[in-house]
Amino acid sequence: MTATKYLSVIDKDGKVAKGKDPNLDAEELRRLYRVMVTTRVMDERALVLQRQGRIGFYVPATGQEASHIGSAYALRDSDWIFPSYRQPGIPLLRGAKIDHLIAEWYGYEGDICKGRQMPVHYSLRSIHFVSVSSPIGTQISHAAGCAMAMRMRKHDGVAMTYFGDGATSSNDFHSGLNFAAVYRAPVVFVCENNHWAISVPVSAQSGTEEMAVKAEAYGMPGVRVDGNDVLAVYRVCKEAVERARRGEGPTLVETVTFRMGPHSSSDDPSKYRDAATVEQWKRRDPIQRFQRYLQQRRLWNEAFEKECQESARATINEAIKRVEATNKPAPRTMFEDVYMTMPPHLQEQMQDLLSLEGPAAADEGAFPL
């Protein structure tokens, strides 16, 4: 854990110092909590499905719920999100259909992406959640460009983009922040510093301990915040979002958090990090922290918890059942959406495949990462 200071709001007993509480109303607070719990439950279910061989791969976000849900909560629903693969709670926060998410894991018919991407690479246009890419960092300059467009068109939207500590080394981090600063684009860059890029620690990623300080290079404000404190994240991001909306330009927000699980279902973190640090961070669990706050405000009790957990589990399990009853996309779909209309050479290739006789090769291989 780093020595540098950053904003926290909820203390270890769930108390908030005067003047620091964003004073969200009861319904909203409970909704936030419910989304965080559902996100956690979804992670757990998915990892089980993966181990059972029912889905091929998964990327858990356990431990990072406050970071991405608190920040996204600072936006209007019409604002645009340019995510990485580690913000599964945002679709839940914005009311995406759970079936869409789970169909994506399976890559089945009901998947908006038509089985073209690996699990958790959601794309949900209806909630302005832009298609997740695997290449690290590419979404950062998209967010800058989208925000530049908003500004040119004099719209009052804001773009928010998410990426990890590893992504700060990418080409797109540099160009995205530079362009955003030069054009004063309304964008908030959220760097979720979870201390690891697969097996590479932050100390081997950057000459700086902090990520927020990188904002200096672009002449924009950089803010560091306790990423396991949903209210602190919300407060800091709310300010950054308002600043952007006022036309005052971009902000880099660093949420200091920790990747509690493996990088993905294929990773074994015990090979490269010690259990003690993980244990330390367990005590800072963002859901428990928020729970204590709600308890303080008498918005949480065992019954509410039970209801949250059970309804999350039920919703997810029912969706899994529905999705598992569907099929893989038809072979024809493999040739669609390369272009708006299918050009002759793809039609020919499609006919070629569809006219084939005999059984196709079986699936093979297991994903290592």
Binding site: S131, C146, M152, F179
Partner: protein
């Protein structure tokens, strides 16, 4: 009709589309006050303001990355890459993002944009101001690749590209930016993507060429005519998607095929043309499919005139298809 050079036709097309559609924005290095190093964007900032035509920081990665974001949001970005040789810092954004966005999002998110860039040899630009990189983009599903060879086509194809719903690589043969003048229709003029043209009719051999090579092939065809050989020249105009029927019909008619391109020979776009003909029309052939191409070396400075295929080399290629 007005007589224009190819670069003027590009400028005319940009103005026409910017007037017609306020979602069209043009940006890149030096495209603003300077109007681009070749003056393709001259006058745009004055007419359309700094929001619609602006200079960018020196980052092709950022130029294309932000263009993707603008396109996602609903604009029609036309980023300029100053020389095609400098597009590689943006390669990831083009190949991994712009090209795959529609597919990976199941068709929900799209990236309509035109990446304009001057390419090819012929201006004494040496190593890094002369490359022909079209094959990289032709090998990337999701991109369209368009190359005009005349001023009128430049205007008509650029307008079609801007209105296209998919990302288009619009590669301009800088060697003939100003060497060729031609009548170009004023106002609306669309040349559809996916349709080639017969540059010159002939019956003994088909030469396929695009960009600045078309003119070279016309010279070679004249030389061949003196040897009594009637050469047909086909310009595909769009490399992806390709007007295959036009090419195959011509080859089936003439029975001979020469493919000309200035990029390095190995794995150039001409290899694709040769492979298509060898798969679909081989039974009509009366000679080998001959490639006349740039050499498999980086682009030289002093000897660039030897590097680029010239009429002598094309003529010899034509002759070879008869030596069977």
């Amino acid at each position: 009709m007005t007589v224009m050079t190819l670069i003027q036709a590009v400028n005319d097309a940009l103005k026409h589309e910017m007037r017609r559609d306020d979602r069209v924005v043009v940006f890149g290095e030096d495209v603003g006050v300077k109007g681009g190093v070749f003056l393709a964007t001259e006058g745009l900032q004055a007419e359309f303001g700094k929001d619609r035509c602006f200079d960018t920081p020196l980052s092709e990665c950022g130029i294309i990355g932000t263009a993707v974001g603008m396109a996602l949001y609903g604009l029609r970005p036309i980023p300029e890459i100053q020389f095609l040789d400098f597009i590689y810092p943006a390669f990831d954004q083009i190949v991994s993002e712009a090209a795959k966005m529609r597919y990976r999002s199941g068709g929900e998110y799209t990236c309509p944009m035109v990446i304009r860039s001057p390419y090819g040899g012929g201006i004494k630009g040496g190593h890094y101001h002369s490359q022909s990189a079209e094959a990289y983009f032709c090998h990337t599903p999701g991109l369209k690749v368009v190359i005009p060879s005349t001023p009128a086509d430049a205007k008509g194809l650029l307008i079609a590209s801007i209105r296209d719903e998919d990302p288009v690589m619009f590669l301009e043969p800088k060697r003939i930016y100003r060497t060729l003048k031609q009548e170009v229709p004023e106002g609306e003029h669309v040349v559809p993507i996916g349709k080639g043209r017969i540059v010159r009719e002939g019956k003994d051999a088909t030469v396929i060429a695009y960009g600045a090579m078309v003119g070279i092939c016309e010279q070679a065809a004249e030389l061949a005519a003196k040897e009594g050989r009637s050469v047909e020249i086909v310009d595909p105009r769009t490399l992806v998607p390709l007007d295959e029927p036009l090419i195959l019909d011509s080859v089936r008619k003439t029975g001979r095929c020469v493919v000309v391109y200035e990029a390095p020979r190995t794995c150039g776009y001409g290899a694709e043309l040769a492979a298509i003909v060898a798969e679909k029309a081989i039974e009509y052939l009366e000679g080998p499919i001959v490639r006349v191409a740039g050499f498999d070396t980086p682009f030289p400075y002093t000897l660039d005139n030897l590097y680029m295929p010239d009429a002598r080399r094309v003529l010899r290629g034509i002759q070879k298809t008869f030596q069977w």
